[in-house]
Symmetry: C7
Subunit: 78 residues, 7 copies
């Protein structure tokens, strides 16, 4: 249509950058976006898991299923 920013393009521009990924059930993952696909399945490196606002440790790598994702926020600072 016109030259707007497609959601997957924003993910493409966030590769190797910090992202905050909110998933269902009050869980979130904060780390570096290392990959994604068209279903919004995500690969996050050094992903800190936060459950109900409490840190639950860090995964070297985690593959999050797109189906459970609520939003993804690329962030300059987190």
């Amino acid at each position: 249509m016109d030259n707007h920013l497609r959601p997957l393009t924003v993910l493409g521009g966030s590769l190797n950058k910090n992202v905050l990924v909110k998933v269902k059930w009050n869980r979130e993952y904060r780390g570096v976006l290392d990959g994604y696909d068209q279903h919004m399945n995500l690969v996050i490196k050094n992903a800190e898991e936060v459950i109900s606002d409490k840190s639950n440790g860090v995964f070297p790598t985690v593959v999050v299923r797109g189906d459970v994702v609520v939003y993804i926020s690329p962030s300059e600072v987190i």
Copy 2:
């Protein structure tokens, strides 16, 4: 069919304008619509997150998955 307004066309006309995006679990995002795709995945800039009517801060950019969206309201004034 006839010349009615398709939902995605309304989103196209709302680019760079303020929108209110209601998602499941009493969450909403108020900001500038910066992009969307055919699944209603949305890119919102300067997105204030409101949970159960309380502000929860502002994201410079957030990609919201279409699957969690309830409605989108373009607004002249918010």
Copy 3:
């Protein structure tokens, strides 16, 4: 098959007319149907939001995702 009324045809015949749109979580939207697509995503103008039978204000325009719709009722009088 035979000449019955397809659901989307009923929506087509309701354009520019008042509709009541019931969505999940005891929410409804009453306004003028301005558009729709094959997923039953809807564009409603002057949409009064009613939550658990209480009015919650009017949106000049709202795009409701088909996935949350329970039913749509065109109405001569509302």
Copy 4:
């Protein structure tokens, strides 16, 4: 395969007849089936809405989304 009755064929044979449509959340609609499509989206005329076994009024026409339907029962007498 063999000559069994396909579900959509039963709906076709129920056009202009009384049906009981059970949907999720203990809601049902009783009226005349006026149309349907392959997603089991339904058009019901003179549809009495019954919520938790209590009548909640009659819609001249209602389009019910197939996704919320539990079952449809054509009935000689209701």
Copy 5:
């Protein structure tokens, strides 16, 4: 692959026989399987509705949406 029994083949072999159909929300339907399609939408004749183990009457015909089905059990005796 090999000559195993496909689920839809089992339904085909159950036509005109008694079946027990368990659906979500502790509901079940016991009657004669009269038809089905590839989505496991089912047509059941003389279908006794059982809710939380209590009989709730018999439908001459009921079309159950596949999406709400948990399992189907053909039975020699019910």
Copy 6:
């Protein structure tokens, strides 16, 4: 890609063997896998139904919809 074991291949190798099928709502079925399709709809023979760890009887044959399956475990001994 490489020569890993595809999930459906594991089901193929479990035909005529004992399986434990866990479905949603704390239900499980233990019996002999007699068939499956690409949606993971399953045919189980001599299927003992276990609800919240209590046996609820045995079905000669049960067709379980893939959509409600959590996991399937082939077992040498059950």
Copy 7:
């Protein structure tokens, strides 16, 4: 697009390695990834089942449906 790591590629690189698979309802499976498909259906060997942080035994093999998966974490050490 660019040379990022696709989620399924990460799964491919985790074959024959230890993974932690989190599924819905506070369940997880810890074992060796033996296979997967494009729906993220997974084959896990020597899978310890952990429910609400308590071990519930080990399955020699378990096929987990992708639809219930929240995330998969390959791990050097678990």
